[in-house]
């Protein structure tokens, strides 16, 4: 290698180096790079055209109450502690029952507000007497942990006015929702934000 003759290519290079500064010197590799850059940019433009749904807006994680089986994983699998999933009460659907499947345990001794008779492990449901025989049930969101026990009771014995939902102001919007991965019923999916709280079906 030491005795290698002078490469004519190198001699050319040396000559090219002395080109006056004002003159544009287009090098082979620079040309290739520019070509590749333009190719990459056009691929990006095509990709934008093909992939992006502009009208759809942003996507948010939502639970489909119809698919939900209240397994309780929402309370434990969320990256947040307590979970961003909370129970929501649709008052319009509620029967205001005295015996509430979402409030009272199945074997509750008395239909009162004693802790031992409640389904909710955190005492997040407030029961208020309105008029005989109607009671209002209100969820205190700060106490709710999204376990879905009340939802199970209400769906089984009542009108189904309680349901679990991902709360927007709590959800941090993971790219892949950890609860969605663990949800046995595939009830959690990305929904266009303008359709939020709709069931995606």
């Amino acid at each position: 290698m030491t005795e290698q003759p002078v490469n004519p290519q190198n001699a050319n290079d040396a000559a090219e180096k002395s080109i006056p500064a004002g003159k544009k010197d287009v090098d082979r590799r620079e040309f290739l790079k520019t070509a590749c850059r333009f190719l990459a940019l056009s691929v990006a433009a095509v990709g934008f055209n093909r992939l992006v749904d502009i009208e759809g807006g942003e996507r948010v994680w939502q639970i489909d109450p119809k698919k939900c089986i209240q397994c309780g994983r929402c309370a434990t699998e969320c990256v947040l502690n307590p979970s961003a999933v909370r129970c929501i009460h649709a008052y319009d659907v509620c029967g205001y029952c005295k015996l509430c499947g979402g409030y009272h345990r199945i074997n509750a001794g008395k239909l009162d507000t004693a802790a031992e008779n409640q389904v909710c492990p955190t005492g997040a449901i407030v029961r208020t007497f309105i008029e005989d025989p109607f009671y209002e049930y209100k969820i205190i969101e700060e106490l709710c942990n999204g376990c879905g026990k009340c939802v199970k009771g209400c769906t089984a014995f009542g009108n189904g006015s309680l349901f679990l939902q991902v709360r927007h102001h709590l959800c941090v919007g993971c790219n892949e929702c950890r609860i969605a991965v663990k949800c046995p019923a595939n009830a959690i999916s990305l929904v266009k934000s303008k359709n939020a709280y709709f069931s995606p079906i």
Partner: protein, 452 residues
């Protein structure tokens, strides 16, 4: 909003709830309270995130190329950790957006304009200014950059071997996202637990482990795991401007080489080479012949390992659970089968889906294997080619533009803006043949060191 609530209510009343009990008619004038469904995040905030990303990338480019200032980059890194890390809690990041794009390409999954921009902006900047995203915009990179107090040099051979991991990781990520088997990058994101100030023990431990390792090995995640860094590196290889050691002022003091945390400063080559030319040419020929062999071998092994890998697909997993339950081996019924409300039709559909997933994995692993074979072949070819360098220079592919070398360069004070910005090679030009397979040689990512 009113309309929304109305629409939801009509839906809930109509199809989801069972009207076991009629709505009470109150005598005491009680009014049914309005429903609190919460307000969705305003769209403007999503656009603001993208605007801040763009501004941060512009600033990074300015600090890296024009100002050549490490201080500016550190300031930006602190901001990124605070904003993209702790405030935005890490999601959606450019790394993870790879998966959204893949899912969008392979299925009916649609992506919003902001996710597309979050994915593409750092790449476009990389095409023009090198990996400025890695320097101080990416919160994962920024965290590791700030903890690398006692960075040691990783042995070249070990570094080369570990350098294959990102290729495997990128391949598997794309495969999993394309087949609907999940988002691997999100699952194994080391710092998301730290940014959220709380996560399951495993995730936090993984993040803390990477940070502790990061004290001694600079940016371990960026160098030996990050799949997005690979793509950025490819874009950076053809970038218009990039971090450069100015050849016209370089005094070959090798201070930059010593301080570079990611070993991306390439020393001048030792001339002449202690190897007979005929010998080197023969080796290169062998490597070119071996290239298709590697591809075939790796593709075949990919094909045969597909069945094993496909067990991670949710449909395949679920079918297994159901089959176990049906055969009576499993003791308890799972929530999954309860949710499926097992009947023959559903299982038949699940079986078809599972078969399709397995088939997808076969094809995917074949392609992934071939790609890894190509990487290995290209790496060996690159090992055998010789690029003459008279001065120190930064490798455009692996340099993360952290700017540590700026403070150590005795000539940085001259702040040759021309040099920082201009990318024209002042070192001898490559021969024509090398230009042709140059595109092949930067794919493997790790720069070769000539055995002397």
């Amino acid at each position: 909003m009113k309309f929304l609530i109305f629409a939801i209510l009509s839906f809930v009343t109509a199809s989801f709830a069972s009207d076991r009990f009629p709505r009470p008619e109150f005598q005491t004038g009680y009014e049914i309270p309005p429903n609190d469904f919460g307000a969705a995040r305003e769209i403007i905030f999503y656009y603001m995130d993208v605007a801040i990303l763009f501004a941060a990338l512009c600033l990074a480019s300015y600090f890296v190329l024009k100002k050549r200032s490490r201080k500016g980059i550190v300031g930006l890194a602190l901001f990124s950790i605070a904003y993209f890390g702790f405030y935005k809690k890490g999601c959606v990041c450019s790394l993870g957006a790879i998966q959204n794009i893949t899912a969008g390409l392979s299925s009916s999954y649609t992506i919003s304009i902001t996710i597309f921009l979050i994915f593409i902006l750092p790449l476009i900047f990389s095409l023009f200014f090198g990996r400025v995203f890695c320097s101080g915009v990416c919160p994962l990179g920024a965290v590791q950059d700030l903890v690398a107090f006692k960075a040691k040099r990783v042995p070249a051979r070990l570094s080369a071997i570990l350098g294959f991991i990102p290729h495997i990781y990128l391949g598997l990520t794309i495969l999993f996202a394309a087949t609907g088997a999940g988002f691997l990058i999100c699952k194994f994101d080391p710092f998301v637990g730290i940014f959220r100030l709380g996560a399951p023990f495993g995730i936090v431990a993984w993040g803390v482990g990477i940070l502790i390792l990061g004290i001694f090995v600079a940016r371990p995640y960026c160098r030996y795991l990050c799949p997005y860094g690979l793509i950025l590196g490819w874009a950076s290889a053809i970038s218009k401007y990039r971090v450069k050691v100015c050849p016209d002022t370089c005094v070959n003091c090798r201070l930059c080489e010593n301080v570079c945390p990611v070993d991306a400063i390439l020393p001048p080559t030792v001339e002449p080479i202690n190897e007979r030319r005929s010998h080197a040419v023969k080796r290169l020929k062998i490597y070119f012949v071996m290239l298709p062999v590697w591809i075939a071998v790796f593709a075949t092994s990919g094909w045969f390992s597909a069945d094993l890998i496909s067990t991670f697909h949710p449909d395949v997993k679920l079918l297994r659970i159901i089959e176990l339950e049906e055969s009576g081996t499993a003791r308890t019924k799972s929530f999954e089968s309860e949710a499926l409300r097992v009947d023959a039709d559903v299982i038949a559909v699940l079986r078809t889906n599972s078969e399709r997933a397995k088939k997808d994995f076969k094809l995917g692993m074949l392609i992934l294997g071939a790609y890894l074979g190509l990487i290995l072949g290209a790496y060996l070819i690159r090992q055998s080619t010789h690029k003459k360098r008279e001065y120190y220079d930064a490798d455009p592919v692996t340099c993360v533009s952290c700017g540590k070398c700026y403070g150590y360069c005795p000539k940085n004070e001259m702040r040759n803006a021309e040099c920082g910005m201009r990318n024209a090679e002042l070192t001898p030009k490559p021969s024509s043949i090398r230009s042709l397979f140059w595109l092949l040689t930067f794919i493997p990512h790790s720069e070769f060191r000539i055995p002397n």
